[in-house]
Amino acid sequence: MRLAEIDRGDSLGNRLLIHFISLVSGMRLPDAARAAFYHRDFLGILGEWTQVAMRDPSQWSVGERELMAALVAKWNSCAFCVGAHRATSARGLTRATVDAALADYHTAPLPLGLIATLGFLEKLTRTPDDVSAADAAAVLQAGVTREALTDAVAVATVFGVITRHADTLKFALPTEAEFDKAADMLLRRGYA
C-alpha cells in the first residue's frame, strides 16, 4: 500500500522540490527519491549511510557497488531496485556485463574477488543464519580485503532496507527509459 504523504511530500519545501526535479528531469520523480525526502528527521541517517556506502572512496568502483545493489534487489525479488541499479551499474560496467551478472554472476565476466564477494552477499541476504567465518575466509582467500568485504556488506545492508521499503510501499515502476534518466540523477546527485 502506498502512503499518500510520501507521494506528495511532507512539507512545502519537499513538495516544491519534488515538483521542480520532476519538471527539470522530464519524468515523475521516482518513489525511492520521494521516500528518501520523507520524514528525514527519522530516517535521514539511512540516506547518509547509503551515500557513504555507494559513493565514498572504496576498493569497489561505483559500477561494482551499483551491481551489488542490483543483485541484492534480485535476491529480494524487488523489481523497482533491480531496474534502478541495473541502469546505474551499466554506466560503469556495460549493460551486457550487468545483464550477464543478473542472469548468473558466477559465470559473468567479473573479477574473481567480486564473484566471491557476491556469493557472500547472496548467502547473507537469503540465509543470514547460515553465514560463517569460513564463508568470509573464502572471500579473503580470493584476494578481497576485510575492508572491501565490509564495504560490500554495508551496500547489502542499506539495500536490505531500501528493497523492503520499495516493495512494502509499492513504489511505482518506471519504464526502462525512465530508469536510464534516473541513473543520471543517481550518478550526479547521489543518495543523501
Binding site: E5, I6, P57, A79, L140, T150, T168
Partner: protein, 109 residues
C-alpha cells in the same frame, strides 16, 4: 584515489539508535518489537506481527491489507512509515551483524 576509510560501524550504530531508541511518532518499544520480529524474533501483537514478519521474510509479498491494518492503527502515514522502516532496518541490521561477525572471526590459513 583518496582512501579515507568509510566508518560503516558508526553509521550502523547511528541508524540503530535513531530507529529503535530515540523519540519519534511511535513508541520506541513498538519499533523495537517490529525490528526484532522482522529479524525472526518472537511474535508480537496483531496487526503488527503479520506485517513485520512479512517485511522480514519476503517484503515483495506484503499485501495492501497487511499494510492498511497497521496504517489504520498507527493513525498517520508518518507513524506507519516509522513501523515499516523499523521492520526493514531490523531485518537488514541482523544481516549486517552476521556479516561483520563472520568477517571479524575469519582467519586466513
Amino acid at each position: 584515489m583518496p582512501t579515507e576509510k568509510a566508518d560503516h560501524r558508526a553509521l550502523a550504530a547511528r541508524l540503530e539508535q535513531r530507529v529503535f531508541a530515540e523519540p519519534a511518532e511511535t513508541p520506541p518499544q513498538l519499533r523495537q518489537d517490529m525490528g526484532r520480529r522482522a529479524a525472526g524474533g518472537p511474535p508480537i501483537a496483531p496487526p503488527y506481527d503479520d506485517l513485520a514478519r512479512q517485511i522480514g521474510a519476503a517484503a515483495y509479498r506484503v499485501t495492501d491489507a497487511q499494510m492498511a491494518a497497521v496504517r489504520q492503527l498507527a493513525g498517520s502515514d508518518r507513524a506507519a512509515f516509522e513501523l515499516v522502516a523499523a521492520a526493514a532496518v531490523g531485518a537488514a541490521l541482523e544481516r549486517w551483524k552476521a556479516g561483520l561477525a563472520a568477517i571479524d572471526e575469519a582467519s586466513l590459513p
